[in-house]
């Protein structure tokens, strides 16, 4: 699994490349945890290069989402491939996770969520 990390204003944008599966989720969690330790709490995960995600990968996304919400942070996922979008749809994880079809939409959604979380 590879990570391409950048910033878009206040948002950490992580483009993930590789499968998000049982054998690799610890890497993904560690990458986000490392950034959270540096007090970053707004994240956009770009999934356009994730060809495959299993239920462990989904569980990791759910766990990260909860962890960030607990810290008044934000997690947005964007541009899932068809196979990954199917995992979100069939499990109804779409109800809990913020998912955008493109990266610009993801950035927009993340800022909307940030503004929502700041107003609470």
């Amino acid at each position: 699994m590879e990570f391409n990390v950048g910033m878009d204003g206040d948002i950490v944008v992580i483009e993930i490349q590789g499968d998000v599966v049982a054998s690799s989720i610890d890497e993904m969690k560690a990458q986000v945890a490392k950034l959270m330790e540096k007090n970053f709490k707004y994240f956009l995960l770009d999934l356009n290069k994730v060809n495959f995600m299993d239920s462990s990968g989904l569980g990791a996304c759910m766990a990260l989402n909860k962890m960030l919400l607990d810290k008044k942070g934000v997690l947005v996922l964007c541009k899932p491939t068809d196979s990954v979008a199917k995992v979100f749809k069939v499990t109804r994880a779409e109800l809990k996770l913020s998912i955008a079809p493109t990266r610009p939409d993801g950035v927009k959604l993340a800022y909307a969520k940030i503004s929502e979380s700041r107003s609470k």
């Binding site: 049982a22 299993d54 239920s55 989904l58 990791a60 759910m62």
Partner: protein
């Protein structure tokens, strides 16, 4: 059905799961083409969850896979030795409608959602967990 059968025996590891998934996808893409990509995704996700379950819970050193297909359907069987364990019992997709957050429990529920038939048999000391997926339109 069965006009083509692929049999594999692999160590019970996540690397094997990835290897079977890659091989299954390649086989089915070659056989059914891009028009069946949605069904191939379904088989790929469902079979991965079946194998993950075996790697995590069967406690066996190896697992066996049989992939059988003709022009309109694919049957994927996972065979593990050991005590009887039926993963198809009490399947329930975690309820995400409420406030509660779920991080697990999706695997076998996804297998059920993504396959057209799902069955478990215990014979000669082996668990045989099978799914069938109809390829809409098929070929030929």
């Amino acid at each position: 059905m069965a006009d083509e059968i692929v049999k594999l025996r692999l160590p019970s590891t996540f690397d094997s799961v990835a290897a079977v998934r890659t091989q299954t996808e390649a086989l089915l893409k070659d056989r059914f083409g891009a028009s069946a990509s949605s069904e191939i995704d379904d088989i790929s996700i469902a079979s991965t969850e079946m194998m993950n379950n075996a790697v995590e819970h069967s406690g066996t050193e190896f697992f066996d896979v049989e992939i059988t297909f003709d022009n309109c359907a694919v049957v994927f069987s996972l065979i593990t030795e050991g005590a009887e364990f039926d993963p198809t019992k009490e399947i329930k997709m975690p309820d995400l409608d409420g406030d509660e957050t779920h991080e697990g429990g999706f695997g076998i529920a996804m297998v059920k959602e993504l396959s057209d038939e799902m069955m478990h048999e215990y014979r000669e000391g082996k668990n045989v967990f099978t799914i069938k997926k109809i390829i809409k339109g098929g070929i030929g």
